[in-house]
Each structure stands twice: as structure tokens, then as C-alpha cells.
Symmetry: C2
Subunit: 326 residues, 2 copies
DNA sequence: TCAAAAGTGTTATCCTTACACCCATGT
DNA sequence: ACATGGGTGTAAGGATAACACTTTTGA
């Protein structure tokens, strides 16, 4: 018997800011008939060992092809290889290939050219409604998630403790970086729609589409793309603190408020204005350019610029996230 | 024309403490004749998509088979897929397969069963002699590396600045986490023996063995294993600060000095005793157990234990690294 | 009694947090 | 003038870094 083929796929999580909000690039795949299918996914492409010298080059190329723009910052996230998760292009070549997908995080500057059809910028709140705490604790946590998780935990001490720590229940503190663990908990608890789909598929049943969906659990995505997205968001949030990475999302010049709004949009928490500014100043990562931003209601704000050479000297320096409220 | 096969390989960087020193598990491969070949490598095994449900299970299995012991903590590091790097098992199946290797970091407790022949614990100073600053700035940096890097940099401002920042030249501060960047710089500068080997291979020449080697550049390893090792060491050093991960390397009970020595061995820097202890206490991650360590020269030390449940509540809490000298 | 390692006290300084307040512009 | 957002001062508390010192054992 011959060993089954392995395919390598590349998945890209591309973040950018649009109108001050953090967005992800998603693709609405079309069935062969031309009709759009229900679920969105991440830009995804096969890795061709013949044509591609490195993963990163291959990724940049197919993202450019699918979305018509160039990525800036790119970093490898994780390689997903579990059996049992749904693999979108597994039967592309005719045989039943095992797909290993290498996930990448990409950051794009705010201003971007027009998109292709079927490639859209999606607010990530659609996929993780519980991750945005900028306007305070999201209601869905207490109204939907907490009861559902409690029911799942039952009398298991371990499950209960995990749920409480991850979703800030019973006075536990919110940790914005643990995006992946939260999603995995919801998956494990069977609350993520993907869990039911994968179970059905494993049992050999036809894929069940559009069962009644509770929006509080987030929109599902194709394959394990929501897991890859969660990995990317968690990684990016963690990196904000110790890499000057937020500037990859901003324009050449920006106001301090725009910088703060960008940090807030990505991290999902509200920041304390004065303390944030002081902390930014101390890092020496930005400098004022003596001009002010074009008209807006209120006092005009000074424009700043990222000091790339200062950052190169100390690449393990990010911005602190002074929380506004507890 | 048919697409060439892809093989997935798994590489393991397994760290443990032996006699207070940080060691890596390395394998001395044997040529088919039975004679040992020159270079060591990491434990490496092919991933069989048929037999293995997940990468991690496959990794644990083949490490157990090659080394006769079980891993504790395991985490994925990075997936290496560049063409041009040497791939050790590429011709196993007869054809010229492209090998993609998924690197893993594993941590093993100090006490371990006997090894197989050809599997040895190696001090990582052998591979990175410039990474151990516990006894002060390593001499090789100024005697060998600095001049060699300077010659390579020539009048290039960028190269010079990178070399100075990474190797703490001209008063720049040492950053113990940037292990990979330092190795990549040496590789790029052609100072790592692997660079010459890979160039020769790319040019179609027979592998050159045992050219005159400067020990200050570190012992080379098979394939790109030294790069994987550098990735692992850098990742582990970074993680010490924000995950209670050092305890994976210690016994059930340990003295505070042993804890400090472990942190020092991994991070490669000397720590300030009192400030380290105060910082450890503040975290609440350890508790005294009221007993003292068995006899040793000097005053007996109290034994401590890792408080696993305290760590579970705040998994993003590591130990600080208060430096002893600047 | 002395070497060796464990363990304690104390201070200056810096960073973080949390207040409350003033400034410049468009309408 | 006033709403709107930009920008500043200051003080308490905690963390860090840098000192030097005492304690308890085995040889």
C-alpha cells in the first residue's frame, strides 16, 4: 500500500485598519456552479515545492494574486496538521490528500487599493464577539457564554476553572491575549458551530449547513480557519507589548490618538489617554513632525512619525497598554 | 510532469538540566557502513500521515523511540521550508523529495533514564560559544567574532549596525533572547561552517568535510539543525519571563539557588541573588515545604515546590531576570 | 575557627496608576 | 460660547536595582 500524499497549504491572516477598526481579509469561496457558499475563509493557497523557494515568498505571491495587493510585515504563526479537522482543498488533485496548513500573519498599511470581488475586509468582532472590551465588558459573555459554559462544565472543577479564568467570570481578570485558548474552549465545549460540523463529518455524515446559530458564539469559518484567526489575533496582541509592530498598520504620519485607537482596536481594550501618551514618549519610538492633522472637530492634533532607526536599535520594545478601567 | 513529493520531518530540540547545566539532546548519526559521521544533529523523524493523528503525538513517539524517554512539556517552534538548506532524509524514499521540517521544543525533567548509544546530552555552549555570559562577557566575542564581523560588514552601515546591536559591540547592550538573529547573522556572513557547506552543495560540489574550523563560531550541525536549535533557545529564553516554564526543567522540590542556577543556565546571564529571590516570592509561584536540602557545603537550604494551581490561575506569569552586572 | 553557601535589611530611583485640569479649534 | 477632542501636572504606590550585612552548617 502506498502512503497517502501530503499537501502543504498556506493560510494568511491579514490584518489592516479600516476606518479605525481592525479588519481581517476574508474570502467568500464560490462553489463550482458559481453560487457563493455560506462560509467565509482565509486566503488560502497550495504550496508548490517546485515553484516556490520559501513559504513566505509563496504566501506573498498568492495573497497578491487573490487580493491584488502586497503584504508588508509577514510572520509565520503555526503549522496545523491534526487529522480530524476539515481540510478544504484535500481533494483538489483527485486523491484523498492529507493537508498540512502553515498559517501566516500579515499586516497591511491602512490605505489599500480596491479589492477583488469575494475578498472582503471583515471586522473580527463578527468571528469573536466576546473579544471587544473597548466599550466595557461585552454583554454576550454574561448573557450567553457564561450559562452555556457553566452547563458544559457541570460539576467538573477543571472545566469550570478554565472557563472562569479565560472568560473573566466571577471576578477573574480579562487577559486579552488568550484568544486561542478561549476559542479552543468553545470548540471543545461544542459551542463553536465548527465543532458540530467536524463531528458530523468524522461520523461520515453529509455536512450540515445552517443549523440554528447563536450569534454570540461568532460566525463560523471554513475548515479550521477560525482557529488560525484566533492564533493570529492572540499573537498580534501579545506582540504589541514587546515589538514596535503597531506601526505596520498605521500610515506614515499619524496622531497620537490614531495610534491609541489602533492599539485599542487590536487589543480590544480601552486605554488611559495620558498614561498611554507618557509611555509612548518614554519609548522614543515616535517623533512629532511639527505639523498638525487636517481639520477635524476639536483642537487639531500634532502629527507624529515612527522612528524606524530607533526601533531597529531596540527591536524588543513595544508599547505598554495602560488600561482605562478594571 | 509530476509534482515532486513533499516529506514532512519533525525535529526535536529537547532541553534538560544535567549537573546544573542546560543540555540539548543530540544524535550522532551513523553512516551505513556503521562508522560515525562527523556532525551531530537533532533527533529527527519523518511524519507519517497515515499512522499519526497529530504532529505532537508523532514527535513524542519518535523521541521516545530514539532516546528511550518520555518528553514532558512540548511546543511547536517553527516550520522550516526553505529550498537551498540541506535536507537530511531527502533521498530516503528513492526520489528527490523536498523536506519540510517542523521544529519542536521539548523540556525534560532533570533526572532521566540512561540514553541509547549515539544519543547524547550536549552543552549548548559547544554550538553557540558566545551565548554564555554567566561568567562575564565571553572572550570569543571580542577576540574572534567582532573582527570577523567587522571585516564582513566593511563600510556597509546596515551590516555594521546589525552586528553591533546583536553582539553587544561598542557599548550596545546584550539581549540574551536574540539567539536566532545572531546565528543567522553569522550564517549570512559566511562565518558559520554550515554556510560554506550549503554553498558548496548548491553549486553541485561534493560536501566538503572538516575544513579548518574556528571553534569560536561554534560546532556546526547536520542540515539546518543549528538554526532550529537557535530558534528553540531564543524562544525558551523569552518565555522564561512570561510563563512559569522553568519548573518543567526542575525536580519536584528544589532550592532557590537551584532555581536561580537553572534560570541562569538557560538565559546565559548571571542574576542578582537577593533581587531574584524577592521577585520569585512576589510571584507566589513557589512555596517552601519546611524541609531542607540534603547536605552540601555551607548552610543547608530550604526546599521549595512549584505551586501548579497558582500558575494555572495566571499562566502569563514568569520570573524576572534581575541582572547582576551590566 | 573558617570557608561556603543561605538568607535578610535598607535605600534611591524609576515606572505605573490615578487623579483633575487647561488649551486650541470649528460651529 | 460651547462642544469636541488635544494635551499637561502632580502625587501615591509599587517594582527594580544597588548597596552591605547576618546566619547556619560541614570540615
Amino acid at each position: 500500500m502506498t502512503s497517502p500524499a501530503i499537501m502543504i497549504g498556506l493560510s494568511a491572516v491579514v490584518f489592516a485598519l479600516r476606518e479605525g477598526e481592525a479588519r481581517v481579509l476574508t474570502v467568500r469561496p464560490r462553489a463550482s456552479s458559481g453560487a457563493p457558499v455560506a462560509l467565509e475563509g482565509l486566503p488560502f493557497g497550495p504550496f508548490d515545492p517546485e515553484g516556490h523557494r520559501t513559504f513566505e515568498l509563496a504566501l506573498r505571491e498568492f495573497v497578491a494574486r487573490q487580493t491584488r495587493f502586497q503584504l508588508g510585515y509577514v510572520e509565520q504563526l503555526y503549522t496545523f496538521g491534526d487529522k480530524g479537522r476539515d481540510a478544504p482543498l484535500a481533494d483538489l488533485g483527485g486523491g484523498a490528500a492529507r493537508v498540512i496548513s502553515v498559517g501566516y500573519l500579515g499586516l497591511a498599511p491602512a490605505a489599500e487599493a480596491a479589492q477583488e470581488r469575494d475578498v472582503v475586509w471583515s471586522d473580527f468582532g463578527r468571528f469573536f464577539p466576546w473579544e471587544d472590551w473597548r466599550a466595557g465588558r461585552p454583554g454576550v459573555i454574561d448573557t450567553v457564554l457564561a450559562p452555556a459554559l457553566e452547563a458544559w462544565a457541570g460539576r467538573s472543577r477543571g472545566r469550570g476553572a478554565r472557563a472562569r479564568a479565560l472568560f473573566a467570570l466571577d471576578g477573574a481578570l480579562w487577559n486579552e491575549e488568550r484568544v486561542l485558548e478561549r476559542f479552543e474552549l468553545l470548540y471543545e465545549a461544542g459551542l463553536a458551530p465548527e465543532a458540530a460540523r467536524d463531528r458530523a463529518r468524522a461520523a461520515g455524515a453529509a455536512p450540515v449547513e445552517a443549523t440554528l446559530r447563536e450569534p454570540a458564539f461568532g460566525e463560523p469559518m471554513v475548515s479550521d480557519h477560525r482557529r488560525i484567526l484566533a492564533t493570529a489575533l492572540g499573537r498580534l496582541r501579545g506582540k504589541l507589548r514587546y515589538r514596535p509592530i503597531i506601526f505596520e498598520l498605521l500610515d506614515e504620519t499619524f496622531t497620537l490618538s490614531a495610534l491609541q485607537r489602533a492599539m485599542e482596536a487590536v487589543s480590544g481594550i480601552a486605554l488611559h489617554k495620558q498614561n498611554f501618551r507618557r509611555a509612548v514618549e518614554r519609548t522614543g519610538l515616535v517623533e512629532g513632525i511639527g505639523r498638525t492633522a487636517p481639520s477635524a472637530p476639536g483642537r487639531p492634533a500634532e502629527l507624529f512619525r515612527f522612528r524606524r532607526h530607533a526601533a531597529a536599535a531596540r527591536p524588543s520594545l513595544g508599547l505598554s497598554l495602560p488600561r482605562l478601567r478594571d
